[in-house]
Symmetry: C2
Subunit: 246 residues, 2 copies
Amino acid sequence: MIAANPGEAEFLRRYDASWYEKPSFTVDLVIFTVRDEHLHVLLVKRAEHPFKGCWALPGGFLDPRRDASVDACAARKLVEEAGVRAPYLEQLKTYGSRDRDPRGWTATTVYFALMASASVRLRGNQAEACWVGVRGDRVDFDLGFDHARILADAVERLRSKLEYTHIAVHLLPEEFTLPELQRTYEIILQQPLDKSSFRRRVVQADMLEELTGKQRDGFGRPAQLYRFRDYDRQTFFPRSISRHAR
Amino acid sequence: MIAANPGEAEFLRRYDASWYEKPSFTVDLVIFTVRDEHLHVLLVKRAEHPFKGCWALPGGFLDPRRDASVDACAARKLVEEAGVRAPYLEQLKTYGSRDRDPRGWTATTVYFALMASASVRLRGNQAEACWVGVRGDRVDFDLGFDHARILADAVERLRSKLEYTHIAVHLLPEEFTLPELQRTYEIILQQPLDKSSFRRRVVQADMLEELTGKQRDGFGRPAQLYRFRDYDRQTFFPRSISRHAR
DNA sequence: GAAATAGTGTCTATCAGACATTATGGC
DNA sequence: GCCATAATGTCTGATAGACACTATTTC
């Protein structure tokens, strides 16, 4: 990144970034969890204008002094809004236009995060925050800005990635059973999956580690507990789950 | 987008976006084409500091006065740099950090574009531009900023999308033969594909329209010409091309 | 033993890979 | 006819879906 280029040091000494008009830049988060048999998204009630009193995705201005990078800004806001360290966090897309925010030209880079519902502690920060059930690809009330569109894109990405990756494990606690994992997939994909096929897929991908303890549910045979083998590596299924199963 | 919210009009009247410190915001392009049996990317030689004289991806500052949106900005730069109207253009990712540009905090939203090599006319704009062959996921010389990393990400995304979508048609002229399309896939995926399987895939996807004319090559039986049926709809193959074929 | 849930075995349809075969042009 | 390339046909192996069956717990 250091360029030994004649004249560049001089150029940089004189350079002033405020010469140019810039858009405002924000980072927003679509934080998903599964609880009560439904996909939920974390929303905040806006305390300030614009859209004061409306529900919106958590997020806000990037602070060039505090945030070393856009990723770091997203991680910071994740902690501030959801009090969580490092669950699954992935950049979704950047939305920017002259009219998406009444304050003027803004761009927002949106991240989507997955977490186990138990691992969240909503800190009663400045803003009122709560989990809202997602029906189809939307929530039941109006969202500020273009956040309804962003949420729809995020839900689509989540569904799409569930078909060929393991990311749903990030929606469960560290130890979980295969029926729980399957149920998570079914809730998000909104379709029943075959038990046998599902298990084959997961076992063949060799991503799970069997734990010797067992979990007992209220009824029936207890289910084997598993743990995800490698939270860093993102692995892919060789074939996609058919959206037209059944 | 218009909020009938008490106090909001007053708030907006007083609001001044320059209260907050903002990062600079740019849009960069990774423009791919296939020519001479190789994947190529469009690079420009930087006329100004920083990285003056280095090769870099085309792009530059978003202009809030001229650009209605980030997408519009990308389209504008595509015309300016490559003189092309509307080929395939897709947002790749946003890169932003304190140290990726010596001028200070910048974020760049990167798009990747595909085009037929014949459709490009490089306008000798302010910058010197040329097509550079991609070897693996890089070019043969150093790129300014973090553009080597960005290029690698773009190549990976291109390869990945080729395995399950039709986007390679955007690298060919409007009329093309199946062997030409197959060759394009082979060049980018860097692996030979079976003719029969390839044709089955493409035909079953029902995306091509047979043209009655035929094209003759120097030798052998002439190949049937086809046209892509719907440039807007993005369709997907039911299964991915195996990366481990052969 | 009945109910409930976990987990396994097996059949089948589908489809990609492999490769042989036929088709159609130039020379 | 020969060569080169395009296009088709057929076999096979892998695997997802379907579903029957077994296993293990609580009551």
